[in-house]
Symmetry: C2
Subunit: 291 residues, 2 copies
């Protein structure tokens, strides 16, 4: 595990530079050096799955094993996402003063696809900063859990045992993004039935994905998860290429769109609307010529 202590202030500033695309962001990113393969661990789950409690417990256990851990907590503010995400964050703050844990939150509306590019860049800053593990956690509401799979080297999908028969309807997309499942609140009634049903479906569809049973609030089952993280299977090269391709694509998109001045776009549209027979597609052709 990394020896010397990490300069948290410097990392925080680097993240701010990258997040806001301030002067120096480009050269900062181009000069990142990745001494070893620091894995990005993605953890996602539906609201109410106890995700922050679990992440807390995982951090605790990784610290006990001598790891230095960085956490990027993504807050996608979905209108349908009731409940207090902020409350979750505060629960994680018990680690804020530990010298080997760095936590940063990003609030996103993510409506224009800029989310993942920034997240990729910030995660890469953390990977190159001397941590042993970078955890990205996000509540799974729609796109975010697909995006996390495009960022992470290992993606854990959390579920809670509920409505045992609904597991039959589990979307294959969930299998595609998961490298492992964590069934939290596994002391609930019906948990074993739920897990058995999940395993049956996994066998039919996707071979052998690990399924972990946890009760994060009681610190049960966490050691198995962190052992899996530490002994993680070697990346398959194809997977690594796909992941990097996706990352590159998102970053290129963000860079290309940076030339579009949305204020000017809106002003030009306001002007064009005053002329009869407005057609959006003819307008776009003309606007593109002006860029």
């Amino acid at each position: 595990m990394a020896g010397s202590s990490i300069n948290f202030g410097q990392i925080a500033r680097a993240l701010t530079v990258v997040e806001n695309n301030l002067e120096g962001a480009d050269s900062l990113l181009k000069n990142l050096t990745f001494y070893n393969l620091v894995p990005i661990i993605g953890i996602t789950g539906p609201p109410g799955a106890g995700k922050s409690t679990l992440v807390n417990a995982i951090i605790e256990n990784l610290l006990q094993r001598g790891s230095k851990v960085a956490v990027l907590a993504i807050d996608p503010t979905s209108p349908f996402n009731f409940g207090s995400l902020l409350g979750d964050r505060i629960r994680m703050s018990s680690h804020f003063n530990h010298p080997d844990v760095f936590i940063r939150s990003i609030a996103t509306r993510g409506s224009l696809g800029g989310l993942s590019a920034k997240t990729i860049e910030m995660a890469d800053v953390l990977r190159a900063s001397g941590f042993d593990h970078v955890i990205i956690e996000t509540v799974g509401v729609g796109q975010s859990e697909v995006e996390i799979a495009g960022l992470a080297d290992i993606t854990f999908v959390m579920l809670v045992p509920e409505a045992g028969d609904e597991i039959q309807n589990i979307k294959s997309g969930l299998m595609e993004i998961a490298d492992a499942f964590i069934i939290n609140k596994a002391d609930r009634e019906g948990a074993d039935l739920f897990i058995n049903n999940l395993k049956k479906i996994l066998q039919q569809k996707d071979g052998e994905l690990p399924v972990f049973k946890t009760v994060a609030s009681k610190n049960e089952g966490i050691v198995d998860v962190t052992s899996f993280i530490i002994s993680r299977p070697e990346w398959k090269n194809h997977r690594k290429e796909l992941l990097l391709t996706q990352k590159a694509y998102n970053i290129i998109q963000q860079k290309m769109m940076a030339v579009i001045d949305k204020k000017k776009l809106q002003q030009d549209i306001a002007k064009a609307l005053k002329i009869d027979g407005f057609n959006l597609y003819r307008f776009i052709s003309e606007f593109e010529r002006s860029v």
Copy 2:
């Protein structure tokens, strides 16, 4: 309402051309003529809100009023979205043979932001095809309900009366996208309390948004919704500009990213990985020079 009958085969082909960006898509879009302001009606709601039943009932009522209706049903395949979306679609098929209803489904993974550009274009084809109303419906799971507000002239957000006190936590984002709320399954116990709480919050936060009570399965309350659609308030010009700016931005993004060959990107990354000291950001700089 529109007089002559609509050539569904021609529309279906035009949609396919646009959806797949086939030869002629660009000139087809540039030559669309919008005879009158055909409104795009967005309807979104969480899984299980009875959305398709409601859309069904709205179509039925608009038909009775002599409208010609086009529906674009968006299937965002979110991994966390349990339950059968396909089943919902099938329920809507009772209208498939009606000469004044055109229904098209789009399945999307939407992970790269291409969704809304295609949807905008397809909705515009429908708006220019002689329909009186274009309905876009999507299940609200994360991004999709934000995207629908970027497409629609009127956005209905559906909710069902549940957990009366949770309404306190309603995200302001939901207010931002909604032009009106529809509380479906309003014959449930506690519905009136739920609606009163919602109205209180709306008054505090956002003035007067209409709230409709429906029981779509019994066809109750539907007439009020369609009356609102037909007598819809005039667009505010600022809102219209914002909407068009967002649409233009999404389409420009799609066009700009079309120059990126993802296969080549992946091949180049595979090659670059074989050299020591791979840095994604230096790679991207070099790749961009080759485009």
